[in-house]
Symmetry: C2
Subunit: 234 residues, 2 copies
DNA sequence: CTAAAAAGAGAGCACTGCTCTTGCATGCGA
DNA sequence: TCGCATGCAAGAGCAGTGCTCTCTTTTTAG
């Protein structure tokens, strides 16, 4: 039925990957603002107009890099989570902090790609639909971690103010219908706060302020975990 | 002693301000990536090369806008803080949330300027020295709020892990020698987390997830305040 | 084997940041 | 008050950008 892809299709896939690789290199070297289609093409030994056969515009190339970046950080988080579960199946707080640490480690190792997805939206602001799936991976992982803890041992959470009750219920219905609204709210808080900590470190806001970033972040991640009601395993 | 500035200097100040105003307009309309010196000059009826008499490069213009943005958000926060203190001198948690709300309100009203200062570092990454003073205003205000509460009624904070003790002491010595290390650490946590919440809202990460942003943020700000040990006034 | 589809090459348009030279007028010190 | 140095604008020009359009070559599919 589905035959082996012809040589043309294979070449196309290879060239597409080569373009993205070179673009990633320039991204890491100079940042998104200076990523230039012509420079990518030049480096690859092709003429700039040929590149438009693969990506119809510079923004489309950036979108592809964004999707890849979301997938990369999501994969890193999922791998770390799986390893933590294997190491200590009952330590839900440890699973949480493992995910946080993996996100931070990836961000520090790939600052420009991190900036692409969690910094200011670079071009015309509208996130294409292709990005929403990969973008959700880390968030879903945090939800899953909290769910496991909730089902295993429950969670202790501060009460919600009345003003937030409707939003909390809507949020829980959308996000995780099996979890209590207060947990859903705390998860979204922690999600945003986690990336606040990572962004401040990656974007240099901690320069000359925080020195021992590892210890600092470890404590912050644990506090975030406690904020969503996780308890250290026995 | 200091005479009135000559007409030439006054004209220079006016043109400098006009350039920054027009640049801010383009920033708000199109974002930092599309801010163009030539377009600014064109709109002001001058030739592009004349603009270089006022700002030696595009990055210098951006730096000036960054400093102004830090000052604007700092001023907004300080105004809100002063009003909250006037309204309820003993309500330290209310002072805290007032600062948080002011920061968020300014950010939502000026998303592109916010992105300039708390998004990905746009140009060659090195923050010029001129920016560090204005950049610190909001942070210092948070510290001052916590200090007032600490001196008035003390604060209740979770203990620090041993691994963070040296960093915490260094941090407190640098940041606020009169405050306990645990408070200094919690303040930096809350500082980063506050901007994580604001950034996620401004950068669209809450799209299709959080609907009632006001109520959501109000609760988050209060929890951040409690995290640094603030208690609701009587 | 041939017609159609895909890919590359190159020229060209409108734009960008930035530099350099030239001419002008304006505000300053004498 | 006057002369001139200084501050500033104008314009041309360079190298680079995203993107489009043609024209040719290659490859695939029928």
């Amino acid at each position: 039925m589905t035959t082996v892809q012809g040589a043309r299709a294979r070449a196309r896939a290879e060239i597409t990957a080569a373009i993205k690789d070179e673009a990633r290199r320039q991204l890491a070297a100079e940042g998104a603002a200076k990523l230039s289609l012509r420079a990518v093409a030049r480096e690859l030994g092709m003429v700039s107009s040929a590149l438009y056969r693969y990506f119809p515009s510079r923004d489309d190339l950036l979108t592809a890099l964004i999707v890849d970046a979301y997938d990369a950080v999501g994969a890193a988080a999922e791998t770390a989570h799986a390893a933590a579960v294997r190491a200590a199946p009952g330590g839900h707080l440890a699973h949480w902090t493992a995910v946080c640490r993996a996100v931070r480690a990836w961000a520090v190792a790939h600052p420009h790609e991190y900036a692409l997805i969690y910094g200011s939206p670079v071009p015309g602001y509208t996130a294409p639909q292709d990005t929403v799936g990969p973008a959700a991976r880390v968030g879903l992982l945090l939800v899953a971690t909290a769910r496991a803890a909730y089902e295993a041992e429950g969670v202790a959470l501060p009460p919600l103010p009345d003003s937030l009750t409707p939003e909390a219920e809507r949020l829980a219905a959308d996000l995780a219908p099996d979890l209590p609204p207060a947990l859903a709210v705390s998860l979204v808080f922690a999600w945003a706060q986690l990336f606040g900590l990572v962004s401040f470190e990656v974007f240099g806001q901690f320069n000359r302020i925080v020195e021992d970033r590892d210890a600092f972040f470890a404590t912050a991640a644990e506090r975030l975990g406690r904020e969503v009601g996780l308890l250290p395993g026995r």
